[in-house]
Every structure is written in C-alpha cells, then in structure tokens.
Amino acid sequence: MFKALKEKLFSARKKLEHSIEETTPEPARTPEEVPAESGSSPEVLAEKTQEPSLEKKTSPKFTDKVVSFVRDREFIISEKDVSGILDELEMGLLESDVAFSVTEAILSRIKSDLTGSKRKIGKSVDSVVRDALSEALLGVLGEGVDICSFIREHERPVKVLFTGVNGTGKTTSIAKVTRYLQNNGFSVVLGAGDTFRAGAIEQIDVHGGRLGVKVIQHQEGSDPTAVLFDTVEYARAHKIDVVLGDTAGRFHNRANLMNQLEKIRRIIKPDLIVYVDEAVAGNDAVIRAEEFQKSVGMDAIMLTKVDMDPKGGAAISVAYAVGKPLIFIGTGQGYDDIMAFNPRDVVNDLLGDA
C-alpha cells in the first residue's frame, strides 16, 4: 500500500532538504565558528547578535535569521524555500487519488508547519521535514481501532453494521471479517440485510456455508430491518459474540434509501457502523463519505480493493473527510486477504527510505 506515494514523498523530501540547506545563511562558513563561541560565554553571544543588527538595520529579516541562528542555533524556513517542492508533493498526492480538497488541506498544513518554523542546528533537516509530513498524515489518519478489544469491552452480542455505496465490496468484506473474528476466537452470525440486489442473499449464504456460520435471511425484497432484527435475536438466544449485518449498496443522494438505513440504525442500534469504500475511488470518495457520515453516521472505515490500487490515497481522503479511523483494509479475493489497519506503521513505512 501507498508505494507510489511513498516514492513521491521520498523525492519531495529530498528536494525539500536540499532547498532548505541551500537557503540557510552562509551555512558553509558560520557553523564552525559560531557554535563554539556562542556556547562559551553569554557576553560574546550578546556582542555577536548586536553586531549584525547594527550593520544591517534596513534588513530585519536578515538580522532575525542571524539572531536566531546565533542565539538559538536555529534556521528559519521561509515560504519561498518550500513552495516549489510542495507543488511536486501536490502532484504526488493527486496521482495517488488523494481527493483534491484533501490534498489542499494537507499541503496547507505542511506549509504552515514548515514555513517560519525554526530548525535547531543539531537537528537534521531530514527530521524536520519528516516530522512535518508525518504530523500532517497522522493528523489525517488518526488512531486505528482494534476490533478485538472493542468486542471485549462491549456487551454481547456486539452488533456491527456494514454500509456503503454499490459495488465497494461490503458482502465480501463481511466474509473476511468473519474469518478474522473466528481466528481471534469469536463466534459470528451474519444477517443478509441486502434484500435488494439480485443474488445478494445467495452470495452471503454461500459465504456463510463455507465459513461455517449461520446466515439469517428472508426473501428478496423483504424489509432489511426485520432481517437484521431477527439476526440480533438469534445471536442473543444462541449466545453468539458478534452480529455482522450486511446492507444493500446505496447512493448517498437517494433520500429514501438513506432513510431505510437510518431506520435500521434506529431499530438495531449497532455498536459499530463500518463504512466500506474502495481504494480505487477518486474524488467522489470524500463526497459520499461525508454524506453517509451526515445521514447515518459511521464509526470506522474499511478500505477494500487495495490490491487493485496499492497507492491507497482514498484512505487518506475518506479518513480526512469524516475524521474516523480505518479499521481494516481488504487486499484480495480470499477470506484471509484482510489486514487490521495501523496508522503509525503505515505512516512510518510511507516516510521510510524508498
């Protein structure tokens, strides 16, 4: 995941370092002399700082630089230093499918973090840039969710509802999550809440059969709320740990379908609403995630088809748009092609050397 983005970030970072090093005031000459002197006595420090300010009264910017360079051993990074490289970073983010609005937000954050910030001499340029980027990305991705501890902390049965637009892979994801939970020692029951799409009930039923879990189902066209209600009742009666509820894919601009989902939420009261979207989605990922968030809400995001698009920018877009954590990523067609999502690992990996 994020491979292409990683390469882009790496090259942007290199350039950023380069440009900051170039623009620091005569770094070649001063570093050897100044640190040694300024460290030795406060008087020398005062002298040194006054001298250039007297000489160059007309250019306070330069004095600032020298003062801060001498007294605090810092460089000031200016907007000019970074603007060209940020443009390149912008392309990188856009090409990785990070939505336009989100790209702009991330960049302005990095820009405001970097420009005007002061760099300690002891601290390497690399770490300054790296911190700013990692700060911005972690700010977007937030902390992950550990579903196993989530289940342990809640009253059984824990009700998980899967939502999302058409064709993002809700049903396949439910099958994978089932396997994941089974591997972690939980019992599962599935609710065939997609009563609309032809063949959907059949699909989840086959998954259930293969995984050895019960699938509660009604007929095609019946009320999904009733199906899921029965599923929860079944879990209660049979002391099953987790209910995974499927729903029909729906577009966020269909008021009546969203109302149906709202009804499910009201009646079933899920503990966790997982919004499923695909890694290949572009700018629309942001719009629909926001709409789902507004109408029925969500607690976590699952990103599917990451094997199709390893750039993974959609993860950043969706997470930024709704401010919810990613819980899983789906990486293939098999039941085991699922990974719990850990933002810190991902960002560290992203900013590692390409």
Binding site: M91, L94, E95, S96, D97, A99, F100, S101, V165, N166, G167, T168, G169, F196, R197, A198, G199, A200, I201, E202, Q203, I204, D205, V206, H207, E220, F251, H252, N253, E278, A279, V280, A281, G282, N283, D284, A285, I287, R288, E291, K305, D307, M308, D309, K311, G313, A314, Q333
Partner: protein, 437 residues
C-alpha cells in the same frame, strides 16, 4: 449526470465571458479553473496537464478566424479539446454480434449486462446472456434473476468452475443473434484472471470488448484500462453509477488510454437506466452551451417552426397563448426539461417544479385554455373571479384547477424572465457560439 462536472466548468467559462480583454492572464486563469474542475472530476493528472498545455498553446498561438472574437475562439478551443478528451462516438450496430464484458470487481458488469440485454431486445433483436462468472457466490442467481426480468434466456452453470467451458458450451447451444458474455470481476494485477479473459476473448471471437467502469474510479482508471486494453483490445467503455455524485473523469481517462469511446452510461439500479452516449452533445450540455444539433433534429422531427418561438419566450413577452403553443409542442417533443437542457442557457438552474408538470396536467391545462377568450390569452392580467368561474364551467374544470394553471403560467413567465436577465452577456455569447458549432 450533466449537473455533476458541469457546474464547475460552467463557472470557469462564465468567468471568461465576464472578462473585458482576453489576454494571457485571462487564458491562464481559465486554464487554472479548468484544471481544478477536471482534477476534482478524477480525470488523470497527466492528462489534465497535457490538456492544459494544448489549450494554452492553441489559445495564445492560433489566430482566431475572421469574424470570430478572441473570446469565442478560446471557448471553441476548450470545447474541441474536451470533446477530444471524451473520445470518439462508438457506433452500436443492430446485427449478429458477441459482446464480452470486462471490468473490475464491483463495477457493475452484471447489472449492465442485463441493461444491454434489454436495450438490444427493445431494438427488436433476439438476445441471450452467458454467465461466465464462476467465482463470486450468487453471481449466476443474479444474472438469471435480472435476465428473467427482461425476458432474455441466460446460460450458465453455478456448479461449473471453468469459465472457458461454460462459454464454449454456451456458444454451441445459443442460437440468438446478440450474445452478451458476463465475466467475473478482475483487476490488472491478477495475472491468471487476465489470462482467462484473453482466452475468453479468443473462444468467443467477440465483436465487442466493452470495459465497464465505475464513475467514481480515480487515477487508477488509466492504468487499469491500459492493462485491459493490452489484454483484449477494448473497443468501448461503459460508465456505470453516474446516478451518484461521481463525475466519471476516471472513466474518461480510460477512454483516452484505450483510444476508444464511451458507448453507454448507466445511471440507476433498474434495467431501464441506460443511456446511449454522444460525445458532442455531452460536452456542449456540460458547458451549458446547449445541444442545438440535437434540438434542431428534435424540432425538425416533430414540429412546425411557428409552433414554438424560443425568441418570444426569452424576450419576456410570454403570454398564455405562448404557453398553449408550448404545451402543444411539448407533447410532440418530449419532456420540457429535456428540451430546455438543449438550449444554450449558460448553466442556468431552472426551478424543478416548473418542469415537473405531468403530461396529464398538460392536457387539462389545454382544455382550460380552450375556454378562454383571445383577450384573456393575450393579457392574462384581466382574469378575475367571474372570468375564472366562467372558464372553469366552460372547461368542465374545478376553480382550483384554473387558478393552478394561472399560477403555473406565472411561474413559467418568471422563469423565462430570469433566463433573460442577469446572464445576458453569457447567454448572447453562448447563443453565438452555438451557431458556430
């Protein structure tokens, strides 16, 4: 779908229309706005950059032809380049053919297969579908259910694992003219599945290989399309799920990559929701330039010239008599909303309720207007309580219905007046441009 990408592009052009001088700065600003609109619509970043370079170069280097202002010239360049971006028109023939459906998981191949089956059936062809998706549970049930709905035979075997065998058997068995082969979802990095679709293409000797793409597809579209194209030589793209908020820019990039064109657009979950695609009309409607070509065709097909007088409507002299003619014409021409979308209105938003009058109501209105005098038709302000009573009695209508008609008339009048005011410069510009196009 027109509302989606459209409003951003329209804004960009409207800004240009408001400029007094078209200089380098104005062109740069237009390009910047275009880039923004296209990137937000998921058009491939590299393509956007190429497109903006071409537009910049042409706008600054090319001399506008005689009688064409710089402004119109720039508009025309934008229009031409955008048409080039959505690719050429794909002809759909009504004859014996095999169509192979290809696409990523969850792009909507199966639903689209059923829609296509219905499309060809409606055109009087005999159609059959082969379900070659042997992987996804419930796939056969889904195709079968949908085929039953449109009354098309469906060949498949949920217990068979080999898609190649199913297709071979199906082809041997099926005698229908149009055969649509629905396949399993796959993506470019799954080598064994790519091999499978290459084999299926050879077995079927398909006349068309159509790539089905989700409108929400982002930057990845281009790469995916390239791999599919290498594998089976894609000759058309179908964009699905255009009824959401996605703008389909990724699919457009796919078109450019495969050097094909968009064949159909899917915009809904029922089998009727399929639209045939024409790049020229699409772009002109997108830019709010109207689709005068289609409108002209439509008008020629259906009405005499004096039937509907667009100029009178736009000039604000809109009387009940005009509305009467309009209602007459609408009957022959189709829904008013469609007709108005072909006019070069420069992206005006029309009030939904103005367009939302049912055909039934229209005929009722006509009967009511038949009971009015000439004076009343020409000057609706004379209508008072007793006149309304007389009209209602004459038309066999309720008083409320007559009042409703008057209300509708006033709203239409306001709407047309709105079209005329405010956007004057834009409108004139667009009209002129329409004539050139």
């Amino acid at each position: 779908m027109l509302d989606n990408l459209g409003s951003n592009l329209k804004d960009a052009l409207r800004k240009l229309a408001g400029k007094t001088v078209i200089d380098k700065a104005a062109v740069e600003e237009l390009i910047k706005d275009l880039q923004r609109a296209l990137l937000q619509a998921d058009v491939n970043v590299k393509q956007v950059m190429q497109l903006s370079q071409t537009i910049r170069k042409r706008a600054l280097d090319e001399q506008p032809p005689k009688g064409v202002t710089a402004r119109e010239h720039v508009l025309r360049i934008v229009y031409e380049e955008l048409v080039a971006l959505v690719g050429k028109k794909v002809e759909v023939t009504l004859g014996k053919q095999v169509i192979l459906m290809a696409g990523l998981q969850g792009s909507g191949k199966t639903t689209t297969t059923a829609k296509l089956a219905r499309f060809f059936k409606k055109k009087g062809m005999r159609v059959a579908v082969i379900c070659a998706d042997t992987f996804r549970p419930g796939a056969y049930t889904q195709v079968k259910t949908l085929c039953d709905k449109v009354n098309v035979p469906c060949f498949g075997d949920p217990s068979e694992q080999d898609a190649r065998k199913i297709v071979r058997d199906g082809l041997a068995r099926i005698k229908e003219e149009v055969i649509i082969v629905d396949t399993q979802g796959r993506h470019a990095l799954e080598d064994d599945l790519i091999t499978e679709i290459i084999d299926l293409n050879e077995i079927t000797n398909a006349d068309h290989r159509w790539l089905v793409l989700d409108a929400a597809l982002g930057q990845q579209a281009r790469e995916q399309a390239r791999r599919f194209h290498e594998a089976v030589n894609i000759d058309g793209v179908i964009i699905t799920k255009m009824d959401g908020t996605a703008k389909g820019g990724g699919a457009m990039s796919a078109v450019a990559e495969t050097e094909s064109g968009i064949v159909f657009i899917g915009q809904g979950e029922t089998v009727e929701d399929l639209e045939w695609f024409d790049p020229n009309s699409y772009i002109s409607r997108l830019l709010g330039m109207g689709d005068l070509k289609a409108l002209a065709e439509r008008v020629q097909e259906s009405i005499d010239e004096q039937d509907i007088d667009v100029n009178a409507m736009l000039s604000g002299r809109f009387t009940l008599r005009d509305m009467y003619r309009q209602l007459e014409a609408v009957n022959k021409m189709g829904p008013l909303k469609q007709v108005l979308s072909m006019l070069p209105l420069g992206g005006m938003e029309l009030p939904a309720e103005a367009l939302d009058v049912t055909a039934q109501k229209m005929s009722k209105y006509r009967v009511i207007m038949d009971s009015m005098t000439s004076v009343e038709l020409d000057d609706p302000t004379v209508l008072n309580g007793s006149r309304i009573q007389r009209i209602a009695r004459g038309a066999g209508a309720q008083l409320e219905e007559v009042r409703e008609l008057i209300k509708y008339y006033k709203m239409m009048k306001r709407t047309f007046k709105g079209l005329k005011g405010g956007e004057k410069g834009m409108q004139r510009l667009m009209k002129k441009f329409g004539k050139m196009g």
